[in-house]
């Protein structure tokens, strides 16, 4: 039995910032996830065709094509030269995510994310053991395997089992047995492996991670001097190996979370009572000095 050694995660932040302040990015993120889903559902449900298609490829307002670049890439190695419309769509998506952070897709758009988040929430609630934790690089291996299989079989291999597009397509076009797929992922994350799917296996997340390697939008632990070691950020972060270098780095090291694994979910910002973290751009490595009670020390103040 693991003993509880500290307050429930985020309690301090709720006390200091209020419930909404301590759940700002979580709420925004859920809103974004629902928003993108509803956008696709307005057509089939209400006949409002703002967006047609699915996450794999879509057409917005009859002019804006968007294509999933990972699916496109599998098609290319599978031997198909896609048409211009799909290529333009893929390029738009690629450029967007390479600016705002590849795994923003994971945290803000992907319909599987609420499923794995829910599994993780329950996992913590029940205080289950971590379970199977393969190497972080596993998903990159899966990514490479998917591309090789696509090339060898001449198919878009991952689409045979991709739960993301299956769930999305299921909601927009008809479910079939997709619920079983979703349940399988939920149970995998709950029982077999904490953060198992999104943190270790999913090649789509791995792909977007690579896309966002040099993304502009980043979280910075600029106020790291204020950290009181409550460890709440480690508890909520789905990829918490990214935090340490920024938070507990040597003096002078960058406070930016530069790892492409970071999903820019902003949950660490929410849950920190002393506001260590903030969104910024990747060139802003400014570090706030330890808070000083004497304002007169500021030379700019006259």
């Amino acid at each position: 039995m693991s003993a509880r050694t500290h307050d429930p995660v985020g309690r301090e932040a709720i006390e200091v910032k209020g419930w909404f302040g301590a759940h700002r990015y979580l709420l925004l993120r859920r809103f974004s996830q629902v928003f993108f889903l509803v956008l696709f559902l307005l057509g089939p449900w209400l006949g409002l065709w703002i967006v047609q298609g699915t996450l794999a490829a879509s057409l917005t307002l009859g002019i804006l094509p968007l294509t999933d670049p990972f699916i496109l890439l599998q098609g290319v190695v599978g031997g198909h030269r896609a048409e211009l419309s799909a290529l333009i769509g893929g390029l738009i998506v690629l450029v967007s995510y390479s600016l705002i952070g590849g795994r923003v897709y994971c945290a803000w758009v992907c319909p599987i994310n609420p499923v794995t988040d829910a599994a993780n929430w329950l996992h913590r609630r029940l205080d289950l053991p971590k379970g199977w934790q393969p190497m972080r690089s596993t998903r990159l291996w899966v990514l490479a395997t998917v591309l090789i299989v696509s090339a060898l079989t001449g198919t878009i291999a991952w689409e045979v089992i991709n739960p993301i597009t299956m769930l999305h397509r299921g909601l927009v076009f008809g479910m079939g047995f997709v619920w079983m797929m979703v349940a399988a992922i939920f149970l995998f994350d709950l029982i077999v492996s904490r953060h198992g799917w999104c943190g270790h296996v999913c090649p789509v997340g791995a792909f977007y991670g690579l896309v966002g390697h040099k993304s502009l939008l980043r979280v910075s632990a600029a106020n790291r001097a204020a950290c009181n070691n409550c460890m709440d950020c480690y508890a909520v972060c789905p990829e918490n190996q990214v935090i340490s270098p920024a938070l507990t780095g040597k003096p002078g090291s960058t406070p930016l979370i530069l790892s492409p694994d970071c999903t820019n979910c902003g949950r660490c910002i929410d849950v920190c009572a002393v506001d260590v973290f903030a969104f910024t751009h990747r060139f802003n490595d400014h570090i706030n000095e330890p808070a000083d009670p004497i304002p007169a020390q500021n030379p700019q103040a006259t």
Binding site: G53, A56, S58, G79, A86, M135, T145
Partner: protein, 272 residues
């Protein structure tokens, strides 16, 4: 080259172990995925692809399963295959002729909507579409073959008289009626499935099948003697000895005999 006697450092050893384990896992998982991906190619016979669809082996690397073609179809013909419930690879577009056939839109909106070219934009005339080929699979139940004049499949065909025609033959059962056999001409049939949908029988006697099931192929070296001869304008084999034939026609009792007939061909030098 590292000397064989020097043991690997623990870190290096661990790295190699991890890599080997990962590579092994990937080969296993990859094989399973490859099996599933290839399995998905087995398109069932009743699932027809939209007009202009690339051949199945190319289609699965081209179609991203977005459903834009489905949305573009004004007749709700097309569907995306649902996981575990349909006759095609999951998420790919197909239609079932007996449920909703393709109405062969002049502007082919499904092809126009496809962003990837899985439905080939080279298809500009819907009459050139080859979604499958109608086959009159059951002559024993087809009403026309029984000697009636149902004709429904023939009449509904959007390419009537070219893709399907009624071929007359003698009705041996009644002895003095005709059979109007619905006959599909594969070089013109688009496989739209309108005939299959319209067939009045509880289970259609005419069905659209994928070309691989509907068609045979003639051996490369086969030549049709009569065509060769016509092309050459003379007998293909020269110096062949022409033995006297018992020919039907004037001068013989052929026309008088029961079932006698005038031959459709004229042999050079015969019948003078």
């Amino acid at each position: 080259m590292p000397s064989p006697s020097k043991p690997l450092s623990p870190r290096r050893r661990r790295f190699l172990q991890d890599t080997a384990r990962m590579a092994g896992g990937c080969v296993a998982a990859g094989s399973l995925l490859a099996y599933l991906a290839r399995d998905a190619r087995a398109l069932q016979a009743e699932a027809l692809r939209p007009p202009g669809a690339l051949p199945e082996e190319n289609f699965l690397s081209a179609c991203v399963r977005c459903g834009l073609c489905v949305r573009a179809c004004p007749y709700d013909t097309l569907k995306l295959a649902e996981l575990g419930m349909a006759a095609a690879a999951t998420g790919t577009p197909y239609f079932t002729a007996r449920e909703t056939p393709c109405e062969m839109c002049d502007d082919i909106p499904c092809v126009a909507a496809c962003p990837t070219g899985a439905l080939d934009k080279g298809l500009t005339n819907i009459d050139d579409a080859r979604m499958g080929i109608a086959v009159l699979v059951d002559q024993e139940n087809c009403l026309n073959f029984l000697g009636l004049r149902c004709d429904v499949c023939y009449r509904v065909c959007p390419v009537i008289d070219e893709a399907i025609s009624l071929e007359l033959s003698h009705n041996a059962r009644s002895g003095h009626h005709a059979i109007f056999a619905p006959t599909v001409h594969a070089d013109r049939c688009t496989g739209c499935g309108v005939c299959e949908k319209a067939c009045v029988l509880p289970e259609a006697a005419i069905k659209v099948l994928p070309a691989r099931l509907a068609r045979s192929s003639a051996a490369e070296h086969y030549r049709k003697g009569w065509e060769e001869k016509e092309a050459k304008g003379a007998p293909v084999v020269e110096g062949i000895i022409d033995l006297p034939d018992r020919l039907p026609g004037p001068g013989t009792d052929n026309l008088a005999a029961p079932g006698g007939f005038e031959p459709a061909f004229k042999l050079p030098g015969a019948g003078q």
